[in-house]
């Protein structure tokens, strides 16, 4: 392929690989800490100094009631906002990828804007709107806020995935007499579904983790990140590590499942 490299070249190559390896390791340092400390039996309210190994925290991950409630609120918000944002965002993505139309450049630009606005500006500006409207901030306002930042995210992710889609397939289906609606559900939708699901999964994770925008719009509502932040002044229980590890494991499983499913889908469409 290329010319055989000199000794210096080989050393440089190994050095670069090692550097990349360290960078990857660096990414995992806090993750390892989180998982390891989920097996710690802390002395006092802060689970930050290693004492001794225990399985107790895992036996009862929902032992801290306030934490569990906050976690459930977060899951509910993420579920509702993700469904709304995925529908709205996917519609935008299909419009942008499928059609050529007047104003698409401007609308595209408008769509990117929320992603290039710092979260603190998104959060604080939306909070001023709700203040101005005299609306009490809580569950509903948090869902509205999450949908707002998820829509752009879903739209751009799905658009990127459907860019290579062969739209002449639709033409073919319609030439064979299928109605536009039937064409969409039978041909288009199944083919772009993996892209939509991937975007939904990521935006679910974004919602579950969101702290800054939520903080401004939550009122007295407590989500998982808000609970951790609020409680940190008094305590940092090991259940936090357990739930964080659970989120990690579930996400990794979903990601692996998605990758395998995607690979199978590609093989199927290749044959």
């Amino acid at each position: 392929m290329s010319v055989p490299s000199s000794t210096g070249g080989r050393i440089a190559r190994i050095a670069l690989n090692a550097y990349a390896g360290f960078a990857l390791l660096y990414l995992f340092v806090p993750i390892i800490w989180i998982v390891v400390f989920s097996f710690n039996q802390p002395k006092g309210p802060y689970n930050t100094v290693w004492q001794r190994f225990t399985l107790e925290n895992w036996a009862d991950p929902f032992g801290d009631e306030a934490l569990t409630n906050a976690f459930v609120e977060s899951l509910k918000i993420a579920a509702i906002s993700t469904v709304i944002a995925t529908v709205l965002g996917s519609m935008i993505a299909i419009a942008l990828a499928r059609y050529r139309f007047r104003g698409s450049a401007g609308l595209n630009f408008f769509l990117v804007l929320p992603l290039t606005t710092p979260e603190i500006v998104l959060g604080s500006s939306l909070a001023t709107l709700f203040l101005d409207w005299d609306i009490t901030r809580g569950f509903g306002t948090v869902v509205i806020a999450h949908v707002m930042f998820q829509v752009s995210f879903v739209a751009l992710t799905v658009r990127a995935r459907v860019r290579g889609f062969d739209w002449t397939l639709e033409q073919a289906a319609q030439d064979l007499g299928a109605s536009p609606l039937r064409t969409f559900w039978k041909v288009t939708f199944p083919l772009i579904l993996p892209g939509i699901l991937a975007a939904a999964l990521l935006s679910f994770a974004l919602s579950l983790d969101d702290f800054i925008i939520t903080l401004f719009n939550a009122g007295s509502l407590v989500t998982f990140p808000l609970y951790i932040n609020g409680a940190f002044a008094r305590q940092f229980p090991p259940e936090v590590n357990v739930l964080a590890s659970v989120i990690l494991i579930v996400s990794v499983a979903l990601m692996l499942g998605g990758t395998l499913w995607g690979a199978r889908g590609r093989r199927k469409s290749a044959t």
Binding site: I34, L88, F101, T117, I144, M148, L208, P225, L248
Partner: protein, 358 residues
């Protein structure tokens, strides 16, 4: 992309449905912004909202009764409408409300309702009293962005060019850490970097404290509660936003181009500099925006890893808005932050600009 559409456009076919669709979309968005910012109130607001509903109804009517041609023309606007209106009402309108509040004042220290001036007092306070926070915010974010490039670029490079069949797996490994909460990761670093933690102990054991102190990474043998710790946290938390776009741009590069350069007796280094690097600039550009923008507005890293002397502008906005209840002042600071970032993005795009942001 769609040849049928292009063909009829070239024929100079009927453009009217298209204009109506676009006009109705933009018009409905503008009306919602006007209602949202309470520019239109009372009966006017009711009329405006009715018009928005009417425009949606019109789309439905065309979809049901229109010819296939007009249906196709109107379809993209129908698909865009719900999401775009959501953004108009909950992204665009709030920015106007933010602007109006930033030009208002609180009549007294305990007042809840702000009075519209318009006054620039808040902006003057923002620029004088909070100047250090602005400077620190942008300085820390800039340093963190440079660090994410130095850590992320080689990693993205190795994955893209040497990952082979493990590419997807390695990329997955980059993303996995970020499936745990941002906040918990930051708390993890707080604990890892803590005094008498294993990192400070390790540095102590090899007797390099003087070096880290000299490099200003440590202060009096402490790693935590220093500017370096805040920058370090920002670097960590936004690293994948740098790695992923760089990887995407590197992956697109045809490796035969590099081979061609080498066949023409280019050294590995110059092949990288003349071929790979220029082609990966779009990735670095996107990564810089995705890292710098959130980092400049962040306050979690400064809160958990820093001290009151290392607060960034995000901390001040959060404090003024939610703790001091001085919403007008917080609004002006938010607005200035957004303004400076927008200017930065425009200038930066002029130099490195690409269309392919997303």
């Amino acid at each position: 992309m769609i040849t049928a559409d292009d063909a009829s456009a070239a024929r100079g076919g009927v453009k009217r449905p298209e204009l109506i669709g676009l006009g109705a979309l933009v018009g409905a968005g503008a009306l919602l912004v006007a209602v949202g910012t309470r520019l239109l109130t009372g009966a006017f607001a009711i009329v405006a909202i009715s018009l928005v509903f009417a425009s949606i109804l019109a789309l439905v009517v065309v979809a049901v009764t229109g010819t296939p041609e007009s249906r196709r023309r109107i379809a993209p606007y129908g698909l865009l409408k719900p999401g775009m209106l959501w953004l108009a009402l909950f992204y665009l309108a709030p920015l106007f409300t933010l602007l109006r509040l930033s030009l208002s004042t609180l009549p007294s220290r305990f007042a809840v309702e702000a009075e519209f001036g318009p006054t620039l007092d808040n902006y003057i306070t923002a620029f004088t009293d909070f100047r250090p926070q602005f400077e620190r915010g942008f300085l820390y974010a800039a340093i963190a962005t440079v660090l994410t490039i130095t850590i992320g670029y080689p990693l993205a490079y190795v994955i893209a060019f040497r990952g082979g069949k493990y590419r997807i797996l390695l990329l997955g490994l980059v993303v996995i850490p970020f499936f745990t909460s941002f906040l918990i990761r930051t708390i993890a670093w707080k604990s890892i970097l803590a005094d008498q933690g294993f990192v400070t102990d390790a540095i102590d054991t090899v007797r390099l404290t003087w070096l880290f102190d000299g490099l200003n990474i440590m202060q009096d043998g402490k790693l935590i509660n220093t500017p370096a710790a805040v920058i370090f946290g920002l670097t960590y938390n936004f690293l994948p936003f740098m790695i992923l776009p760089i990887y995407v741009s590197l992956e697109k590069i045809d490796e035969r181009l590099v081979d061609a350069a080498k066949d023409l007796y280019s050294t590995s280094v110059s092949a990288f500099r003349k071929v790979v690097l220029p082609l990966s600039i779009p990735g670095v550009f996107a990564g810089t925006l995705l890292t710098f923008i959130p980092a400049a507005g962040d306050f979690i890293n400064a809160e958990y890893l820093g001290t009151p002397n290392t607060t960034m502008i995000g901390n001040s906005i959060q404090d003024q808005f939610l703790v001091q209840n001085n919403v007008p002042l917080a609004s002006s600071m938010s607005f200035v932050l957004m303004f400076i970032i927008t200017v930065f993005v425009i200038i930066y795009s002029k130099f490195f600009g690409t269309e392919d942001l997303a």
